[in-house]
Symmetry: none
Subunit: 124 residues, 4 copies
DNA sequence: GTGGTCTAGACCACT
DNA sequence: GTGGTCTAGACCACG
């Protein structure tokens, strides 16, 4: 469970956590039933407020990625393989679509964008 | 000079205006020297506060897209053709790159992303 | 009577005119009794509003540099040689003093400032 | 962090604040990483509107003197020692040069100006 | 608690 | 008429 925080980023910290954990769950790195570390511990390690971690956890629970058992902790929920594709799509497609539309509004051509995509996948 | 506001959007109104106008300037629809309509008029037409329009204008001036002559009005600045490409790139590539990286981190394949791009350009 | 306007400058146009004309009078280039050109003519030549020229003229009259004869025009006032020094001082010393204080507040040393002064006089 | 407001001054309040704080940062009195007091507190102490303070803060951030972390506060940015000289110069030299040129155009001699400089540094 | 956004409305300087 | 500044006061997102 790696989480990297960029305090200078425009995206709020709790959202950075949410995006990274949800991605790990969908990639299968965190498996159904796995227990998440206590929020106080995460907060200490990341040097951020407990409230912020709590907010990220809530977002994850709300989206169905984790569930809470009062007094015991938080666990990774069971996301059936078939649903993962849908979730991924729901998470990302709208955002990407917006970004692409913005690119087009600036006059970027389809070719230019395709080149960027290719580069992104070539990098690693 | 078309501006469309979405009050429900997460991105602040003044930023929506900024993005649309900067895009129009970079596409060359608004030409160097063109006089922008008075902020009060824009405010009335868009049914928003003068101050919100002013904030957008300030952002545009700050970014070098327009310049102000107190008492006379605001004018489109001279953005050399060669710089336009750079500005567009600087504005958009970083954002798009981030989005693409996030898509990949969710496990989206290159093919899935290319399909989204194709769809975006097919729509209109 | 040369006047050069910089529309992009922060100092208002009427003040640019005021400063240049008052300087010309104090240097003796415009002499006591000389008739100034009609404001409409000045406005046309400088491509600015008549109102702006009027404002500059009023400022000059208020400061005692020119006087108006209704229906005939505006004339350079009689500024005795002895008074010129005082007027110059009054005009400029306060402003320069402020500027120097600001330089000091930024930590500029006396030597650095003296170097700037020397350079200013060395240029032409 | 001393700020003194002169409500009677021609220079806008937010600019007075900007100039004083930027000077303190460049002199090294406010150090990189230092947390600025909350804008509402500053507003209360100076008996001005929060918005006016915010405007000053925005100008400082825009110029790279401070950075903001929403929800946490504003912090003094890291201005490398080497850049400080440049920033100071860029800020002040142009203004001082203009002022000196104006003095010369009024016929002030180099000696007179040097005397003013000497006096400015003799005062305190 | 912090800053970010938006509102309505006033007054001033400049053209 | 234009933009520039300042006001008071509200609501939201973030930590």
């Amino acid at each position: 469970m790696d989480i990297v925080i960029d305090p200078a980023s425009e995206t709020p910290i709790y959202r950075q956590i949410y995006e990274q954990l949800s991605a790990e769950i969908m990639r299968g790195e965190l498996r159904s039933g796995d227990c998440l570390p206590p929020i106080r511990m995460v907060a200490t390690e990341l040097r951020i407020s407990v409230i912020t971690v709590k907010k990220a956890w809530e977002a994850l629970e709300h989206a169905g990625f984790i569930y809470t058992q009062a007094g015991r902790g938080c666990f990774v929920a069971d996301v059936p393989e078939t649903q993962r594709g849908d979730k991924r799509a729901a998470l990302v497609i709208e955002r990407l679509q917006k970004e692409l539309d913005y690119c087009r509004s600036l006059g970027l051509s389809k070719e230019e964008i395709l080149a960027l995509v290719a580069r992104s996948f070539a990098e690693n």
